[in-house]
Amino acid sequence: MPTKKKSPPITEAWRGITFTRRALVVGGAQAAVGVALAARMAYISVIDNDRYVLESESNRVNLTLVPPRRGWIVDRSGKALANNRVSLRIDIIPDRLHNKELVLGQLQTLLRLDGDTMERINRDLKAASGFQPVAIKEDMTEAEYSSILVRLPELPGIAPQRGFARNYPTGAAVGHLIGYVGAPNAEEYQKAKDPLYITPGYKIGKDGLEKYFQDMLKGQPGARRVEVTARGKVVRDLSTQPDVQGKTVHLTIDADLQEFVARRMGRESGAAVVIDCQNGDILSFVSMPSFDPNSFSDGISSSEYAWLRGDDHQPLINKATRGLYPPGSTLKPMAAIAAVEHGVDPSERHTCVGGYRLGSRFFRCLGTHGSLDMPSAIMKSCNSYFYWLAHRLGYDAMAPTARLLGLGEEYQLAGSNQRFGTIPDSAWKMKKYDQEWSASDSLNAVIGQGYVLANPLQLAVMAARIASGRRLYPRLINREFKNEPLPFSPEALAVARHGMDLVVNGAGTAVRSRLPLDGITMAGKTGTAQVRGLGTGNGKSGTWKFRDHGLFVGFAPVVNPRYATAVVIEHGMGGSRAAAPVAKDFMTFLFDREKAMEALETFEAGWGGTIKERMDRDYAAWKAGASKPDPELAQ
């Protein structure tokens, strides 16, 4: 390819000169590249030095937060209601996971992870970044844990950890009282912006007291700085800052009583509250059936949750404060106090003829009691007598007394979510329904039906206030309340107490629930709340859901009362039949534990074991035949 230009003839000499020139061009270019490389290196190592030193350190040093041990929740004598146990867990550090399929495959085989778990892990891995660990498995057995430990060199990215998990020694007995903990969700993390929230193994209070006292219980996280290789092997510890355990929360609860009451509730659905008559301490706060907070804290399985949701005994609802019931005849001592305060002579007699005529309507009594004074009317739970009082005084005279005794009130109570019910009066009815209060409204209200609704905690407070004569304020922690005396005359209170004494120890409705103790007696009042409207069905048999609720309020001992209680057994078909015997047993427990335990063990043998044994069996049965209809409903 000759050039158009006339070039000089090419000679060997020309070639030599060209070679030298071009060799120098190549050499010069090489030198230029060399200088450029030197400059580049200087740039990286001098100008960008700070940045790369930082990156090298962040490679080398791995800072892991150590989730703090949660504070304990203890009862009045220091016995643990919620504590911590050692939990073995393994996590994946996504940054260190080089061969994901291989490692996950190995883990799946070693730990027998099911498909759901693998899916969750894959999902979490996608969402996670960097050194944010992803939980593989918690609460491993020692055998599983060591099977991972020995294979650690082949499993880069796996981080075994010896941590703590929340433990509730009495399980379901404290479910509704304590609540439970759980891993923070994305929303909670967004709100708190705390890196601890995305540290595996860290749990926050999700419900009940665990949630209410979260700030107190959470403690301070520890930190561990370690030098690690690219494969995540820890070379050495650089420094460790220990965690600070959360503070202990002291409750007024009596753990033994709490457990006893929960167990004594048996297979029933209901609630029971025991209050100390000296200071308003809540000694037991039970709603059954319950859930096992251990299951929730470990991350409840969806099928277990479905089982709890599907149960018609509603184990997920705290009936002690969220359950509203017509209090029935349990309000009669209150009505008696109101009547005496309004000038009715308690010895004035009224004759029960099996009911009370109000205009054209005849309000029925459950019996024909004949001539009764006030205490015996309470003893016999005579509706006619109280219809007569209510008609005479009107319910507007009684409602303030009910409120003074704690009904219709929402308490400042740690961690509880309350539905506080209704104590109706004419102003309330006008406001709510725009209707005048009628005499028949008074008659219904005085026997705890109609518009009246209360929760078991309120009933227990009422019993405690009648027993003590003071305005006791219920409390779960050591808060100071004035607990000033109630503005009632001693006679009024004495009549109510005497009536309640007769209910159990006279010829009343709960004589079968007399305490089996020498020198200690219990006073009380039964109640039966109709689930269906008055007069439709008898509520004493038939489908469980339509049976009457059984209620009981009481206190013991009759002289110098120490403990007050309220028990509600849903669909228990009557207070004397379902509720009073339960109260009798746990009241016995407070004075003679051995005797009470004997009785309980006999009962539990009949029910098929302890709460945990029964729950485990029920759950297994439910899983086996999830689609089968509920046998209770099929009756």
Binding site: G34, R40, V46, N49
Partner: protein, 368 residues
């Protein structure tokens, strides 16, 4: 003054000092990379260096004619080996780069880097000067470069293919081919870059893309470059100190004893170590460039210039790669990286250039 015997005078002490200096520094780095152990790398590398240095000194004693006479035969022989490797790879059902000779794995592509330079030097030495600007000067060279480059690309080994091309093209350039041929080829090459890019394997394309934006995938394929830059950058001016490099000792730096050994060194010795090493390479290349300029024959000139480029290409591409200026191609740092193949190639180059240097000392120069 003690008289020095001529036999000892004839030994190129200065060159040996340069080579030993670079390699010795490399041995220290290998010692550190093994966590303060002579095994498994440093001791091997040291022994290998001594063996190959002797080989180079022996080659340096050969008369230069031998290389000229055997240039084409060697080229053709190695080309056949390349084809054989390709066929073996095809039969074996995968990519293969080496032939197992029993005592060592022979990579024909490494030998081709040297053979292409010698063969082209022979071609241009024989070409009548008047033909320098004609097509006759171009096409045989294109074929001679194109065949082995294509075979190596098939392996696939982008780095070595590039090294073969660069070595050949530099010989063509210093042989005096018209300047504008190179200029227009370069422009055309740039224009065709996207097309060429599409011919690359997926993983090669990925490497190029990641080179262009290493932060896009700092944990995947960009990991090498990121970690290498961290190692170099965190070394600072004076380095972290001998045996104190966390990037290499904690395995963050991949290939810390082979392709990325410069990063291992820079982490512990800092900018000072880096500049010292660059200076060592500068001395080596200055020596070889001087050999080219002083060569007595045209074959010697062209060969020395081409081999200088071959050595330089190793150094430049490797350093650009570890500093994030080039994609990750598997090219080791001459004399410094652990490995026999590259050291064999470099020492062969050095040996041939020694022969050229000796030749220029013995006779009169044919041209200036």
């Amino acid at each position: 003054m003690i008289p020095v015997p001529p036999a000892i005078q004839r030994i190129p002490w200065k060159l040996i000092a340069i080579l030993a200096g670079i390699t010795g520094f490399g041995l220290l780095v290998l010692y550190s990379a093994a966590g303060g152990n002579w095994s498994p790398w440093a001791l091997n590398q040291g022994v290998r260096f001594l063996v190959f240095l002797s080989v180079a000194l022996v080659i340096g004693r050969f008369p230069i004619r031998i290389f000229e006479d055997f240039a084409y035969i060697a080229y053709i022989g190695i080309l056949i080996l390349l084809i054989a490797v390709e066929l073996l790879g095809f039969v074996g059902g995968g990519s293969q780069r080496w032939l197992n000779l029993g005592f060592m794995n022979l990579q024909p592509s490494e030998l081709m880097k040297v053979a292409i330079v010698i063969a082209l030097a022979r071609f241009y030495a024989q070409l009548p000067p008047g033909n320098t600007r004609t097509f006759t000067a171009l096409w045989p060279a294109m074929v001679m470069i194109g065949l082995p480059a294509a075979l190596v690309m098939l392996q696939p080994d982008l780095g070595t293919a590039l090294a073969i091309c660069i070595g050949g093209v530099v010989v063509m350039f210093v042989a005096g081919l018209p300047f504008w041929w190179f200029g227009s080829t370069a422009v055309a090459g740039l224009a065709a870059l996207p097309v060429l890019f599409s011919f690359l394997h997926d993983y090669q394309q990925k490497r190029v893309l990641i080179f262009l934006d290493p932060e896009s995938d700092p944990l995947g394929a960009g990991y090498h470059i990121s970690q290498s830059k961290i190692a170099i950058g965190s070394g600072g001016i004076g380095g972290k100190g001998f045996l104190n490099g966390s990037q290499s000792h904690l395995d963050y730096l991949p290939e810390g004893h082979t392709d990325f050994i410069f990063a291992t060194m820079a982490e512990e010795w800092g900018l000072i170590g880096g500049l010292a090493l660059l200076f060592g390479f500068f001395l080596l290349l200055r020596w070889s460039t001087r050999v080219a300029l002083k060569a007595r024959t045209r074959f010697g000139q062209l060969t020395a210039a081409g081999l200088t480029m071959t050595i330089f290409f190793y150094i430049a591409i490797n350093l650009m790669m570890v500093m994030g200026l080039a994609p990750v191609v598997g090219i080791p740092l001459p004399l410094f990286s652990y490995g026999g193949s590259s050291m064999l190639t470099i020492m062969t180059c050095v040996g041939i250039m020694l022969a050229i240097e000796n030749d220029s000392k013995t006779g009169t120069r044919r041209f200036h």
